[in-house]
């Protein structure tokens, strides 16, 4: 089947099998390997991306369903020289170690920051409960997001 998908502002046209997962379309068909694939059944959160602004698990979506949609992956957040605010705080607070879960953490946090006040660390932790990290113990990931919330609210972190 033929699909046209906008990924990080660029249009991609491809002919694909209906069973192709969106995660594999991003990584293998168009070569954007920033989206990581962990469990492939929606539990680990590593493959989280934004579809029309909402966070979704790309491993639980058929690529054919993304036809005509607007997708943002971790490659669309910033560049190594110009990280976005969230990425900057992940670096400042050491919110990553091996980095495998990081793209999913970032994309999930982008949506959390948009939809919730994230007034408490508990709320941040609840929001991240669908993303597994086996290195950090989450402390510094929560700290990085807390920092973005504080900056957004105009107070120093």
């Amino acid at each position: 089947m033929d699909i046209v998908v906008t990924v990080n502002g660029r249009k991609y046209q491809a002919s694909i099998e209906p069973r192709l997962l969106l995660s594999d379309f991003l990584r293998d068909t168009i070569g954007l390997t920033g989206t990581h694939v962990g469990c492939e059944h929606g539990v680990c959160g590593a493959c989280t991306i934004l579809v029309n602004g909402d966070s979704v698990r790309s491993c639980l979506t058929l690529a054919v369903r993304a036809d005509g949609m607007d997708i943002v992956t971790v490659e669309g957040l910033g560049t190594p020289d110009h990280l976005n605010a969230l990425q900057t705080e992940f670096r400042e607070k050491h919110g990553l170690q091996c980095g495998f879960c990081t793209p999913g953490m970032l994309m999930t946090a982008m949506d959390l920051l948009k939809k919730y006040p994230l007034a408490s660390d508990e709320e941040i932790r609840e929001g991240l409960s669908g993303n597994l990290c086996r290195c950090t113990g989450y402390q510094n990931i929560v700290a990085a997001i807390r920092s973005v919330v504080s900056l957004r609210n105009g107070s120093a972190s």
């Binding site: 059944h41 979704v56 369903r65 669908g130 993303n131």
Partner: protein
Amino acid sequence: MKPAAFDYIAPNSLEAAVGAIAAANGDGKILAGGQSLMPLLNFRIARPSVIVDLMHIPDMSFIERRDDAVAIGALTRHADLEFSDLIAQELPVMAAAMPHVAHLAIRNKGTIGGSLSHADPAAELPMLAVFYGATIKVQGSSGRRDIPAEDFFVSALTNCLDPDEIVFEIDFPVLTSHAGWAFEEVARRFGDFALASIAVSLGILDSRIVDARVAVMGVADTPRRLREAEEALTGAQGGPKTAARFAEVVRACVSPESDIHVSAEYRKNLIGALAARAFTTAWTRAVGARP
């Protein structure tokens, strides 16, 4: 970890979708939000030869007040329910339960029709449908029919639908005379399936309970409304004694099973503790205080 090959059909009308699933002769699967079906496809636990995708059918996603009920389209996403002002106002127990439904990225895709059809005994929306006494509207080859939520869930992961029937709308009656309510749930991790959960709603007149609604999940192979527990509350007043008696009745109503997570005994104690907590919160709300 990748789906087996299937024929993909994405019709643009409910009638065409019913026709496509009927033509699949029992070897087809309906795809709504995909948040339960896709893991089954990825693991190849489900290997349907035909997938009928509902995403291109118009007018299947809506939340509307209709007389004494809120009508919800089957393709309405969990996140739409979570952030709806109408739901918060008219179906407060649903509003309280929605953040417990999986995680945001799942709520952004998962649909109410999909969750009900999947019929997980520890999922929030089936329990809410039973709690509110919702009517589930379905269409099949031989026409439409209305199914009361309590008749819809047959056993774990099994509903009463014929193979060619598709849920297109769910009507939730508003509990207009109820002033106090509560939703309590315990899961291993926030967003995981519930170990046990209870919803309580109370109508009060002259400081006495005149009408109670109680439903539980995670303690049987389907969500259950507990009429015995409702009757036990009728005529009662708030306070620790009523809460303890209510917890006792709720415990006596259920016989949960042990599983990989917890023992049957733990689950039974848990639902009692949640019942007492939920009753106290509901009563506090009903008499006009902040819980």
